[in-house]
Amino acid sequence: MTIAEELDLYGDYPDDVVVSVENVYKIYKTHELEVVALSGVSLQVLEGKIMAVVGPSGSGKTTLTNIMGGITKATVGKVYWANLRTDITKLSERVLTEARRNFCGFVFQTANLLPHLNAWQNIELAARIAGVPRQVRRDRVDRLIKLVGLEERRRSKAPTLSGGERSRVAIASALVNLIDTEGKGLVLCDEPTGDLDPETSERILDLFQELNESLGTSFFIVTHSQQVASKADITVEIRDGIISGFHQAGVDLDTMDDTRIVRLDRNYRLAMPTDLLERAGNPTEFRITLENGKFILVPQVGDVIDTMRVRKTRTCRVCGHEIPQGKFICANCGSTV
């Protein structure tokens, strides 16, 4: 029983929001060094949608996933979970673990299967841990194993499975507690196809879509892969811990659209996509104009300061020679300004 249940402080969120991240900062402190992994990230995962996150290594993708899954605590900011209808950053480890069991599933690049268990047992494990009754558990695992197409391999120990099969087991395992929850569930995937060949990846992605359609589970996928991003309903671009843009379905990572959606953060700041900036010659200043309801952003080629500096160049009142900025004695006649 939390106070939130009685007051429902989070009732403002639309019903289809599964997880919402608001203005989240994450700062890692190692020794005396502080590393800002996330800096004011806000996003929402919607029910039944696949969201992909792309970005270079070290941009904070995995941190974001862990914060959403409640494994890592955000330094600042709120993480809302639909099942709890509350901000989870204030909750204890125990409550969080219990709440996560039938709300979040994880799929990692290294499939995270236990080598001494077979496929069936690996899938079942999460349900056993959660204390799901045996009959229900069996029923679910049977359904899932059929769903991911591994009925033949159910008795095989994890190390004997192929890469694709392992991924399937991992996905099924992530879903085992979500499958029957009539509400929102979220599968967080960290590079799920990272070490798979394109063909297998394709099949895994099809599986994601299939499951997404048939079960209505939301997927949040961290990826480097074009393939993955193209299957997502929405793709989030993240750079240096800041969301630099959103893309609609069918994004092409190589020739990422010249246009994208950027979102104001809580401090009314707008992050500029760096690839676009590069193409524009890394401008640092823009002229912004509002015209007919459209914002027009024009990069300034010459620095504003440069013009200011130009203006500061003086002419010697004695000989008319130009005195450079910062000099106060005419180089020609020697008179003081």
Partner: protein
């Protein structure tokens, strides 16, 4: 705002952790059994010592109680009657005590054998010449079936040893006498009649049938003929015999009669309660109450207190009933000294301390590495929704199971090992019969169980400390298989060598600075154990670098392998250092204990030789001094000298004067350099020979009396005519002398070995000239002769011949039976030897287990490496030889360093162990290095270890590159 429906959270399955722990245990059998076994080894050692001492104690207590039916008897004092002594009340008091199991009152009187052959008697006197008059009298013991059943262990018999109505048991001697007197044969199956005399009379008093209360008992069927086993037992002494002339008043022959040997036994029911009461109250003999102490009742109050408790009980009873005399307990002190030695031997546990620590260290290390190896697994479980507590309890359950398994295995090992100490007859030899006897009586004292439990709990406790930390740092999403590899270590060898040198220096200097005696010895043994660990660690680090260097420098031999080997040996300190340390520790401990126990035995032998004093020592009833000349006639005897002894006193100090023939004693005595102060034996004894009233006194008295060489001492001493007084001139000072032990027992703070052998002169002694002493005291006999024999001659026949004479005992170093003469020393010795044997077994086991654990996991971890080798074109054979070379190199390094460390630690520990023993040597300790035994034992252990490294190497060779590299 309207509250929206909230989803239920899953609370989790509280029993999941248990079931997961069980699967996990099942899935890593080798590792888990390894951990449990190593823990078990740690549990075994201390437990074994306690089980051994408890079992030994129980055995001797048991033997004591098994030997006889009764250990005590209550008798009315002389002049007191059954009534006046209050015997009945004393009996019930005794029965009421915790220490007494039961008490049997047995009345007895005299009976006269009657029958057709005998025409009756009209008067009888106990001391009369009865046999010649045709009266066969005997003691009639009146008893019950219950009592009789209890007597059986004191008797041997023909026929039965039980009675029912109309039956009688007769003694062998009674049968003989009956035959002599009446010329009849009494045996099983015949019937006899008798007149029971209800009323007693004084020995020489003559009584009539009426006055003696004749009560005929007839037609008794003899069902058994018995003989008592030990006349000195309580039953034997409770029915004493008298001697009497039976046939010839002028002859000298007296028969032994009317005791238990000349008796018959009938049931109380045969004569009825009234008659029994009359016999008890007025019969010829006072009834006796036989007591059997309660073994369990006594053990409850502590085995070590049995003697004290029974003695206290005896005194208490005698005080409460002043007219009663309590007989028995003559053997109880022997029992108690046995028990005390067993208890003292428990201190030996600390000799095995290094093995205990080693096993605990290894347990923790293995379990900790196994947890850190399972980081991936933890992270997987966490990602699947397992809470911190669930994962934590999984590991705790595992540790509990392992700990329980270790506990059971440990007790099981103790069950096998403890009898080994009890049955040990020397290094690596034991007596199978005694082993079986010990095993059948094995007792686990509560203390041993508590210690075992405490050690077993060490594993969960260490898990408790480490696991939580490990779980916490495990991040979700780590790979479940494989681990990080280590970097090559690049450090110099010198720091280890210098460290090792410092440790060894500390070890050797320690006993020099503080003399290891008693509690200090315990502390120093513990300190040395710690140093052993430090030395093993430093030594193996240094050795590893040496092997790396050596294998790096042998590329001409090993080819390309050497590069891999030397790098690999420098690398992976995480696995190889602990393994090397463990192997070094096990081998060092084995070597050390071999040296320790052989040194103890050598010291013992040395002390024994010195205590005996000469090649042969003859103790006898006083013999004329010239008996030493007689001895020369025996073959092999080269020289002999008598010793004259008398008591002496200076002030309040009492000691003995030992009169010796200095020149003979000088040649015969087995002197040590430390016998005399600042001088050798020749100088001192020559000086004694040259001064007629010379004396060699102990250094202790020299200091006490402030006398030194040349001074005069006035001594009172005993002579044939009473106390004499004389002045003696001090010609030398001594510490000890061969044959007499330590010169002043004040010099040592405990029991000397010599005193354990029985050769120590009580209080101390001084050496004087035999001629002078004999002349002054008029003593011309000697009870002690020291004999020099021709070397390497078999003296067995001579010894037998000399010993034929009554009360003559010959002692030589070869024939002296330590076990028979001193149980305490024997117990301590067999304790050390047994422990050495057990430690060897356990160390070897631990070495093998750690090879299996460490190298097994090393191979598993490095599968990718081997796979790459195979993929690069290495053959299976090449991989095997490469890996075997690497592993074997480590083992060889361990062996090399441990032989060195073992010898150094063996030397130091031997000195410390002697400090632990309750006996103090008179001479300096003798260190013995059993090179033959060490070579055999170590090479055996090494060969097994080397062979066992081949198994993991073969597994490395069978790495399938295809599957391993795919799963990378």
């Amino acid at each position: 705002m309207v509250a929206k429906k909230k989803t239920e959270t899953l609370k989790g399955n509280p029993w999941w952790s248990l079931s997961y722990a069980l699967t996990s245990l099942k899935n890593y059998p080798v590792r888990n059994i390894g951990i449990a076994l190593v823990l078990a080894i740690g549990i075994t050692l201390p437990t074994t010592v306690f089980v051994w001492t408890a079992t030994g104690t129980e055995l001797i207590v048991n033997e004591y109680f098994q030997e006889a039916s009764y250990q005590m008897a209550l008798n009315p004092k002389a002049g007191e009657s059954f009534e006046s002594s209050n015997l009945l009340e004393a009996q019930s008091t005794a029965v009421g005590s915790d220490f007494i199991e039961f008490a049997h009152r047995v009345p007895s009187t005299i009976g006269i054998l009657t029958g057709d052959f005998f025409y009756g008697w009209s008067e009888y006197s106990m001391l009369g010449m009865n046999y010649v008059e045709g009266i066969k009298d005997m003691r009639v013991i009146i008893t019950t079936p219950e009592v009789l059943a209890n007597w059986s262990r004191d008797f041997t018999w023909r026929g039965n040893f039980s009675l029912s109505l109309g039956q009688v048991l007769v003694s062998e001697q009674f049968v003989n006498y009956a035959n002599e007197v009446h010329n009849i044969t009494v045996d099983v199956g015949t019937t006899i009649d008798m007149d029971l005399l209800r009323y007693g009379a004084r020995g020489d008093q003559v009584g009539s049938p009426t006055s003696l209360g004749r009560y005929p008992v007839q037609n008794l069927l003899v069902v058994g003929v018995y003989e008592i086993n030990d006349l000195g037992s309580i039953i034997g002494t409770s029915f004493p015999s008298i001697t009497r002339q039976n046939w010839d008043p002028l002859g000298i022959e007296r028969d032994i009669i009317l005791g238990i040997t000349d008796s018959v036994i009938i049931l109380e029911d045969e004569v009825g309660v009234d008659v029994v009461d009359e016999v008890a109250g007025r019969g010829f003999f006072q009834p006796v109450v036989l007591l059997r102490p309660s073994e369990s009742g006594l053990l409850q109050h502590g085995a070590q207190n049995i003697g004290t408790n029974l003695a206290a009980f005896k005194i208490q009873l005698e005080e409460q009933y002043p007219n009663i005399y309590v007989d028995g307990l003559s053997e109880i002190w022997k029992l108690e000294s046995f028990i005390t030695t067993y208890l003292q031997s428990q201190i030996l546990t600390i000799i095995a301390f290094p093995v205990l620590i080693m096993s605990l260290m290894l347990t923790v290390f293995t379990s900790e590495t196994s947890i850190s190896r399972r980081k991936g697994e933890i992270s997987a479980l966490r990602s699947k929704g397992a809470s911190f507590n669930q994962v934590f309890s999984t590991f705790m359950w595992e540790s509990m199971f392992l700990s329980a398994l270790g506990f059971i295995l440990g007790l099981g090992l103790s069950y096998i090992m403890a009898p080994l100490i009890g049955a040990s007859t020397g290094l690596f030899s034991f007596d199978p019969d005694r082993y079986a006897l010990f095993m059948s009586h094995i007792a686990f004292p509560p203390l041993s169980i508590i210690i075992a439990g405490a050690i077993a709990l060490y594993l969960p406790a260490s898990y408790l400390m480490h696991v939580s930390r490990r779980i916490d740092v495990s991040e979700v999403g780590q790979p479940t298989i494989g681990g990080a590899s280590e970097d090559t270590e690049d450090v110099g060898i010198w720091r280890y060598v210098i460290g090792l040198a410092a440790v060894l220096f500390a070890l050797l200097i320690m006993p020099e600075i503080i003399t290891p005696i008693g509690a200090m010895a315990i502390a120093e043994v513990l300190g040395a154990s710690l140093l052993l660990f430090a030395a093993s660690y430093l030594g193996s680090r240094a050795m590893r670098l040496v092997t790396a260097r050596v294998s790096g420098g042998t590329s001409f031999l090993l080819g390309e392998k050497s590069l891999y080997l030397s790098q690999s040996l420098r690398k992976r300190k995480g696995q190889f250092i602990p393994l090397l340390v463990i192997l070094t520790l096990t081998l060092t401990t084995t070597t050390m204990m071999l040296i320790q126990s052989s040194s103890f035995e050598a010291t013992l032998q040395n002390e024994l030789g010195y205590s005996i004093g000469a090649d042969m020592r003859i103790e006898s009833d006083p013999k004329p001094l010239r008996f030493s000349q007689t001895l020369l006639s025996y073959p092999g005897i080269f020289e002999a000298t008598p010793i004259v002894e008398t008591w002496a006193q200076v002030g309040t100090q009492r000691f003995f004067l030992e009169g010796v023939e200095p020149s003979a004693y000088m040649r015969i005595g087995l002197f040590s350099e430390s016998s005399f102060v600042n001088n050798d034996s020749v100088t001192v004894l020559t000086a004694l020979a040259s001064v007629q009233n010379g004396i060699v006194i102990s250094e202790y008295y020299g200091t006490l009396w402030n006398k030194t060489v040349g001074d005069i001492v006035q001594i009172q001493y005993g002579s044939i005519n009473g106390t004499t007084y004389n002045e003696f001139e001090v010609v030398g000072l001594m510490h000890s002398a061969p044959g007499f032990g330590v010169a002043s027992t004040h010099d040592i703070s405990g029991a000397s070995f010599a005193s354990q052998f029985g050769f120590q002169v009580i209080n101390g002694f001084a050496l004087v000239n035999l001629d002078f002493l004999s002349m002054r005291t008029l003593i011309d006999t000697s009870s002690l002769f020291l004999v020099d024999t021709v070397s390497y001659t078999d003296m067995t026949d001579v010894i037998e011949t000399i010993e034929v004479e009554r009360n003559t005992h010959v002692f030589t170093l070869e024939t002296f039976d330590v076990g028979a003469e001193s149980n305490s020393i024997q117990l301590f010795l067999s304790g050390i030897q047994g422990l050495t044997m057990i430690s060897f077994i356990l160390c070897a086991a631990m070495g093998l287990i750690s090879i299996a654990l460490f190298l097994g996991s090393a191979v598993m971890e490095r599968e990718p490496e081997y796979a790459v080798f195979r993929a690069l074109g290495g053959t299976k054979k090449q991989v095997i030889s490469m890996v075997f070379g690497e592993f074997a190199g480590s083992v060889v390094a361990a062996i090399a360093i441990s032989v060195f460390l073992g010898v150094v630690f063996g030397y130091a520990m031997s000195i410390l162990t002697l400090g632990l023993s309750p006996f103090i040597p008179v001479l300096p300790e003798v260190l013995s290095f059993p090179f033959m035994m060490m070579t055999v034992v170590l090479s055996l252990e090494s060969v097994v270890m080397l062979m066992s490294t081949y198994l993991p190497a073969r597994r490395a060779g069978s790495t399938d590159p295809a599957s391993v590299l795919r799963n990378l």
